[in-house]
């Protein structure tokens, strides 16, 4: 590389809408991405995240709205003039070119002189750990190596913006985690702005500075991984990002009334400013679980408690996950492994939590949880 720490560029999307015939794939997407930021588009398939990425890359024309990179409008630029790096889901390596020719391809299009090209290719291959494979064809590489070549091809010209379309989805878990670390390292080294598309929430949480959650063609929340996990703004985000326990009911008088009539205290610092049908969400690790028969007294330790049935138990190494069914909902409770289960499947358990850990979310009218 000639210049280390090339700063990434700011990317702005302003009211971007894309229709395919009468179908609206994305609607009014407005985002402001900082230079050098690592942003993830997260959502189920068909949520519009890939369409948005294709609009940024220029594979799709926007129906309405404006996309700017470093203050310059991209909307009327053809794909090859946008100066973007992109890693594709299926790698999209040129099968008739060696690793080195693949990586040199964008440099060649930019008319980089041969000597400089050689230097840049060598440096980039070193960065992704493929130096000894430079003369191989893509068909002679493993999946992880191919993905590294795709990454090298996308970053060798120091693009101000790097787009990644589910680049790790074809790889196994161990390799995926290893490449996630490499992508983070390369992002830190290059300082380029990254837009990463995935449907895997763990991947999104692990990689991103900020996450943009898509559902049904709209952005439903933008925030840091911590914000999305601890302060989801709607039921969709709370279900899609992380696990939770949900209770259905109504919110009024700063209290939560479950459908079956139980009243729960809520976090008084959370000013909602509305009343009506609501869901109460508590994250699994904030709930304590006890055998209902054995411990009537321990329920008093939390401010809120409820009784339900233990439906399933999953041992996950450092903890135990309990699936609990409640009269008005249910979900996951995560507890420290105490060397055995607190109760048997099918028995009654008492759940308790601090009122401050519960989050009240407005009930969405036509809610179809895409995340079972």
């Amino acid at each position: 590389m000639t210049s280390e720490q090339t700063p990434g560029a700011a990317l702005e999307l302003d009211g971007v809408t894309k229709n395919f015939g009468s179908f609206t794939a994305i609607q009014d997407v407005t985002l402001s991405i900082e230079p050098g930021e690592f942003i993830t588009f997260l959502g189920p398939s068909g949520s519009g995240k890939t369409t948005t990425l294709n609009c940024i890359a220029g594979f799709e024309d926007v129906t309405a709205g404006e996309i700017t990179l470093a203050g310059q409008s991209l909307t009327d630029q053809p794909v090859h003039r946008r100066n973007l790096g992109m890693v594709f889901q299926g790698y999209a390596l040129f099968p008739h070119m060696s690793v080195e020719k693949n990586v040199a391809y964008p440099l060649k299009q930019r008319k980089v002189p041969k000597a400089q090209r050689e230097k840049d290719v060598t440096a980039t291959l070193e960065k992704v750990g493929l130096t000894e494979f430079r003369h191989r064809l893509p068909s002679q590489l493993s999946g992880g190596q191919r993905q590294r070549v795709a990454l090298a091809r996308a970053i060798c010209f120091n693009p101000p913006l790097l787009l990644m379309d589910e680049p790790l989805s074809a790889l196994d878990k161990a390799l995926r985690e290893q490449l996630q670390q490499e992508i983070r390292r390369i992002h830190r080294d290059l300082g380029t702005t990254v837009v990463f598309v995935t449907h895997d929430q763990d991947e999104a949480l692990a990689l991103s500075d900020r996450i943009v959650v898509f559902n049904k063609g709209k952005v439903v929340q933008v925030g840091t991984p911590r914000e999305l996990y601890l302060q989801p703004e709607n039921v969709f985000v709370s279900e899609f990002v992380g696990e939770s326990l949900m209770i259905s009911g109504d919110y009024r008088n700063s209290q939560f009334h479950s459908d079956s009539g139980t009243v729960f205290a809520t976090d008084t610092t959370q000013e909602l400013g509305w009343t009506g049908p609501a869901q109460m969400m508590i994250r699994p690790e904030n709930i304590s679980i006890h055998d209902a028969a054995a411990s009537a007294d321990t329920a008093a330790t939390g401010e809120c408690s409820v009784t339900g049935f233990l439906e399933d138990i999953t041992y996950v190494g450092n903890a135990v996950k309990y699936r609990v069914g409640l009269p008005d909902g249910g979900g996951i409770v995560r507890a420290e492994d105490i060397g055995g289960e607190v109760a048997d499947i099918g028995s009654e358990v008492t759940l308790s939590w601090a009122a401050a850990d519960a989050r009240i979310l407005a009930k969405e009218t036509s809610e179809e949880p895409a995340h079972a």
């Binding site: 890359a57 794909v79 090859h80 973007l84 999209a92 008739h96 391809y105 299009q109 996308a154 787009l163």
Partner: protein
């Protein structure tokens, strides 16, 4: 495993017993002309009563025979080149469309294969008479290109079905315009289809006799037309020599096509 072995061998044997006679039956009539071409007499008696290279000598010294061969080669090369370019572009365009437009264009492009050659020949003759293309190189190339185009469209189309369009997108994003991306990425990847389309087009033109018979003139004849005339008017074993040369040429082309395709697959 060991139990199954003789069984496989038995079925293999059956396969050979069935296929060798069929192959012989298909190829034998063609191969008969090879010994005939070495006959020392002006007759088609089989087996030939001796050995001579007289008819090969005659072939390469006669302006009609050699001229016909050179005309055929020249026309076939032009036809193969033109229809490879047009057919590849057509197949590429078709791969980007869908629905009624695709069905219609595809049908039109492939129709020259389906229309009986005699009907096609009459039509071409009528039009060429008016435009002065009868008996011209341009006329032959034009007519044969129409006949050869479908083979290129079909061959290239088959390769394009398996072509990953992400590759082209990757080239665009890398900074290549549409044309450059096509030339540097798409074309090299679909090359086997283009090459076999080229060979098919070459053979289609080189073998064509019916349409050529309509549009040839004494001044400009292709080899198959010359052979057709010869077999109708005279007893001249030069035709056997010509046929032998054609067999060698087409076999070489077909083998090339088969082996390049095999090599690509590995």
């Amino acid at each position: 495993m060991t139990k199954n072995r003789p069984k496989i061998k038995k079925s293999r044997l059956f396969l050979y017993l069935l296929c060798v006679p069929i192959a012989f039956w298909l190829v034998a009539p063609t191969l008969v002309v090879i010994p005939l071409s070495f006959t020392p007499q002006r007759s088609f008696a089989f087996p030939p009563p001796g050995f001579s290279l007289e008819w090969y000598e005659n072939f390469f010294t006669s302006p009609q025979w050699l001229g016909g061969l050179l005309n055929s080669l020249q026309i076939a090369l032009l036809v193969a080149s033109i229809s490879s370019i047009l057919g590849t572009l057509a197949a590429y365009g078709l791969s980007k469309t869908s629905g009624f437009r695709k069905t219609l264009s595809n049908g039109l492009l492939v129709s020259p294969i389906l229309i009986p050659a005699v009907i096609f020949g009459v039509g071409v003759y009528a039009v060429f008479l008016r435009t002065g293309l009868v008996g011209t190189m341009a006329g032959f190339v034009l007519a044969h290109t129409m006949l050869a185009l479908p083979f290129v469209v079909v061959n290239v189309g088959a390769v394009l079905v398996a072509y990953d369009t992400q590759l082209e997108r990757a080239a665009w994003v890398s900074g290549a315009g549409r044309i450059r991306a096509f030339m540097t990425v798409t074309l090299p990847v679909i090359w086997p289809g283009v090459a076999s389309g080229f060979l098919f087009a070459f053979i289609t033109s080189f073998d064509e006799v019916i349409v050529s018979a309509f549009i040839s003139s004494p001044a400009l004849q292709t080899l198959p037309v010359r052979m057709f005339t010869s077999v109708q008017r005279e007893v001249d074993p030069t035709i056997a020599a010509a046929a032998t040369l054609i067999i060698i040429l087409t076999t070489a082309i077909a083998l090339t096509a088969i082996f390049t395709r095999k090599k690509r697959k590995v």
